[in-house]
Symmetry: C2
Subunit: 356 residues, 2 copies
């Protein structure tokens, strides 16, 4: 175990592995789950003994506050396996920190770092065979916390459950992504919970996204709720554009998730001497750049989607195509990040984390 | 049964009633639950056979989307019992309609009206003894729907569960309410889900409310997320103020819940020839009215809180006290509404609904 003091982790292994049922060459995203899960309950004001148990249903009182008041936060991480069968994580402490930032905003208790890391690493070693080695695949890891305490009073719960579950997964998107820049609906408010990975942020995006999908797009790009002029982020990705040779992304704020992939791309860009501007930018600017030919690239960045090139954006009934670019920034960033993740290249940033 | 075509409702009664354990003279709000619940599952694209079963735990896959993406909506209603042991509801069709408005915004399937009404009425008749007759008490009714379908892909679930659970309850607030007008945090965005009774809207309010409670207030009054100048609503109540003799409340919008109590108060005010203005109003206006003595009343209105007078509001480090008023609007509205609810007075609006 590589972090912190050892915790009193109880382990109960499954007698019926589902591993043989999985087709690793044909993995959907996040639809099949590994044999075990890490579970820890919060009650009487503290986190109780953590456990690793066979993946199984959870039994909850119908008055548990998760059903009523949306008290839940989550993280998204991936485990990668290299040629020597070693297990790697990518900047896991960023996720460990971020889940507590999310929890604080939702009035939920922080989860201790050593519980998080030791629980995660032990789980990965037990479910090691579930980490795919097929190209583009990985083990998607989902830490999450939700309110189990009961009551119809609209106030924070007094009991919670922390779980880590894992799903061997293929790519999140198949192919290039077409996006619609949103003009009516919004993802988050100033002073709201947009910067947190709170469950409720996602449910609110489904309906506008379904409307966009009906029009032939894959994703919505969220804009500020006041003017719908400023480009913010996508459902599960931060957004970058390249105008001329300059890489532009919006600063994070209380409306925008501080993505690990975004942060990493900014560091790589600096390392590669790519000119970067972290600043607010508008739809108008994008449309103009598209019209005068300076808009070279647009891509999303996130753990699930890695780096996903955008081929087209729609706005006010018009579609704007992105050109096809040789040696694009998106392809360069994707290669550098995944080479680090799968232990195929030097890791000068110290982002790779060996589970041993 | 008073509504629609009859549904194929299965009923299984409890063998162990918890009724004798309840102290009806000492009821908290929403903390003890009646013997039965109404349950209906959505799968394969349709709602399955509804059931009434003993109140019991629910078993869910850890990947059920309720835990991850906050897909849940709810309603809040009350059942009242009169001197002749008759059961009454207050404008139940408003809640039946509203839950479907909420569901649509969260990309969840509508729940059929006849299922809702027949399920609710049958449940109330079975759990009739759970409806308190002690003054100020009622049976709080909680219809709710949440995503049971599984997967870590951020998209709507394919399976849902609809439940109605009930809690014999005393008053939501004890005594007058002190509120803090929010200057930093927000409840909802333009184009967001604020008008829906979506679980996630409530979790986001807990942290700012806890900060306000630490400063000695009970509730936060939400303002618009852009300027924090316009008064919107409270956590579970719409807000009214009285300046001079004029009753003022904010218009509903996509940020504000269209409350049944609010609507009813507007009708009663009209009936009583009280001058009403439904318009946006600002904190500045309130502060000025407080300073020049024209701010006479401020109160919250909601099913749980009924009509709750506000005794003080805080803003930018100052506290503003509301005067004590004889024959206040709040007390008049509260009396008229509760007299209708408990079948103590004429119901000229046709709001009362007999469960027979
Ligand atoms: C709303 C949102 N934005 C951005 C991201 C990307 O963040 P990260 O790179 O840390 O996965 C995610 C997904 O994690 C997200 O949910
Ligand atoms: C946010 C919010 N506003 C207002 C209300 C009041 O609405 P109603 O009068 O329909 O209960 C509620 C509670 O139901 C609420 O949750």
């Amino acid at each position: 175990m590589s972090t912190g003091t050892s915790i009193n982790l109880k382990v109960e292994k499954t007698k019926n592995s589902k591993l043989s049922q999985i087709d690793f060459n044909n993995l959907p995203f996040g639809q099949t789950f590994s044999d075990h899960m890490f579970v820890c309950d919060y009650k009487d004001g503290k986190w109780q003994t953590p456990q690793i148990i066979p993946y199984q249903n959870i039994s909850l009182d119908p008055a548990a506050k998760i059903f009523h008041y949306g008290q839940s936060v989550f993280e998204g991480m991936k485990a990668y396996k290299d040629d020597q069968d070693q297990i790697w994580l990518f900047r896991p402490l960023e996720n460990q920190k971020r889940i507590n930032i999310s929890s604080e905003r939702l009035a939920m208790p922080a989860f201790p770092k050593n519980y998080f890391m030791e629980g995660l690493e032990t789980l990965l070693k037990i479910d090691k065979e579930w980490i795919p080695q097929t190209p583009g695949s990985s083990l998607y890891i989902r830490p999450f916390i939700f309110a189990t305490g009961v009551g119809f009073h609209a106030s924070p719960a007094d009991e919670y459950k922390f779980i880590i579950a894992c799903a061997p997964s293929g790519p999140y998107f198949s192919g290039n992504v077409k996006v619609l820049i949103e003009e009516k609906y919004s993802r988050s408010a100033n002073g709201g919970v947009g910067f947190a990975k709170a469950g409720g942020n996602y449910a609110g995006q489904f309906y506008p996204t379904e409307l966009a999908v009906k029009k032939g797009y894959h994703q919505v790009i969220w804009t500020d709720d006041n003017t719908h002029e400023y480009i913010e982020e996508a459902g599960a990705m931060n957004i970058f554009v390249r105008i001329g040779d300059t890489l532009i992304t919006s600063p994070t704020s209380d409306r925008i998730l501080d993505g690990v992939t975004r942060k990493s791309i900014l560091d790589i860009a600096k390392d590669e001497n790519i000119p970067v501007e972290v600043r607010k930018f508008t739809v108008t600017e994008l449309v103009e750049a598209s019209k005068n030919g300076t808009l070279k690239e647009m891509f999303g960045a996130g753990t699930a989607a890695v780096v996903s090139p955008i081929s087209l954006f729609g706005h006010k009934g018009e579609n704007y195509e992105l050109p096809e670019i040789e040696n694009s920034y998106a392809s360069r960033f994707k290669k550098r990040i995944t080479d680090i993740q799968y232990n195929r290249a030097e890791d000068k940033f110290g982002w790779r984390y060996l589970v041993k």
